[in-house]
């Protein structure tokens, strides 16, 4: 089998697996069918836990034992939290945080 065909099949498999994961909850609990209360409960509390999980997920490649010890991430994150608590403006907080982080990794912690 040529490597192009194999790569094509790989893309197909990956796309199918990803779609399967995303569709699974909706297939398991279709509209109009009664679902266990615990699922409804999980649906309510999960977003808070998942966003927490995603924040940590973003830092998975950061090493605190080697230079720059996660400092750019820490400083930029603290900046985002502070600015957001003060102004509650998503665009200002995110773009401001990106600017701070880019300055840090490009100029300060090189």
């Amino acid at each position: 089998m040529s490597s192009t065909v194999h790569a094509l099949l790989q893309v197909l498999v990956m796309a199918a697996v990803i779609a399967f994961l995303r569709f699974l909850p909706f297939m398991a609990f279709p509209e109009g069918r009664k679902r266990p209360k615990v699922i409804t409960y999980l649906g309510r509390v999960l977003p808070y836990a998942i966003i927490g999980m995603l924040v940590v997920y973003c830092f998975k490649g950061v090493s605190v034992t080697a230079y720059p010890y996660g400092l750019p991430e820490l400083i930029a994150s603290a900046f985002v939290v502070t600015v957001h608590v003060l102004f509650r403006n998503t665009l200002v907080s995110t773009f401001g945080g990106v600017a701070v982080y880019m300055l840090l990794v490009q100029l300060v912690f090189r």
Binding site: Q10, M14, V38, Y48, I51, G52, L54
Partner: protein, 235 residues
């Protein structure tokens, strides 16, 4: 109404525009460097629409991994997406013909925007979610393809721009924190995932973390699920 809905969605999706262009371009460059042309960028960004999944996918393709390995690794890397639907069963209810595409495009970033969306006068929620998904998808495809076509000639140093995603998740977390009196689920999410990251390592931590979070939440149900909607409610 549709116009206003679209405008709202576009405005809210701007952080994703920055992040997806950056991540997409990085991906396109990587793809190109392994000898895959921009056709692959189009194919993968259209059909997979997954950041980490596609980055890892390039490695599987370049190393000629078997289909079984490819499937299994993709399952691990994207397992977190399995969680998202559970909290959107009601939000996406009644979206009709738009729904399959909305589910197909349920990335981390789209999910986080959908979670933090507040109903607004003159904005059709279902269409709003659909526009968010489609806009994000279009940014992603644009990023991936431009990276593959002209990534080498990028006019400026974009190092660090992918922090847009991290910043967005932090902002959403702060918003949730400020608007909810019950902080246990958020704390559980952070602490459990951090512990799993240390224990299981960066490659395999997410599935144990998901399982533990779900188990902890179920165990704490009595405490978290009294009839106090303001405590848990995102609806």
């Amino acid at each position: 109404m549709t116009k206003k809905t679209f405008k709202r969605a576009f405005h809210d999706s701007l952080p994703i525009l920055a992040g997806y262009l950056a991540l997409g371009i990085g991906y396109g460059v990587l793809l190109q460097s392994k000898g895959y042309s921009f056709w692959w960028a189009i194919l993968m960004s259209v059909t997979m629409f997954a950041g980490s999944g596609q980055y890892a996918g390039v490695d599987f393709m370049a190393s000629g991994a078997s289909l079984l390995t490819t499937a299994f690794m993709t399952l691990i890397i994207n397992a977190r997406h399995f969680f998202y639907g559970f909290s959107l069963l009601d939000k996406y209810k009644g979206a009709g013909a738009l729904k399959p595409y909305m589910i197909f495009g349920l990335t981390d970033e789209t999910y986080s925007l959908v979670c933090s969306a507040k109903p607004e006068e003159g904005v059709d929620q279902k269409k709003y979610f659909f526009f968010l998904t489609a806009l994000n998808h279009s940014y992603w495809i644009t990023g991936c393809v431009s990276g593959a076509v002209l990534g080498m000639f990028l006019p400026f140093d974009s190092k660090g721009i992918d922090f847009a995603m991290t910043a967005l998740f932090i902002v959403i977390m702060v918003e949730q924190w400020l608007s909810s009196k019950q902080h246990l689920p958020a704390v559980l999410g952070v602490v459990t995932t951090a512990v799993c990251l240390v224990v299981f390592g960066a490659e395999y931590f997410i599935i144990p973390a998901m399982a533990l979070i779900a188990a902890e939440l179920v165990l704490l149900r009595r405490r978290l699920d009294p009839e106090r909607p303001e405590v848990n409610g995102d609806e």
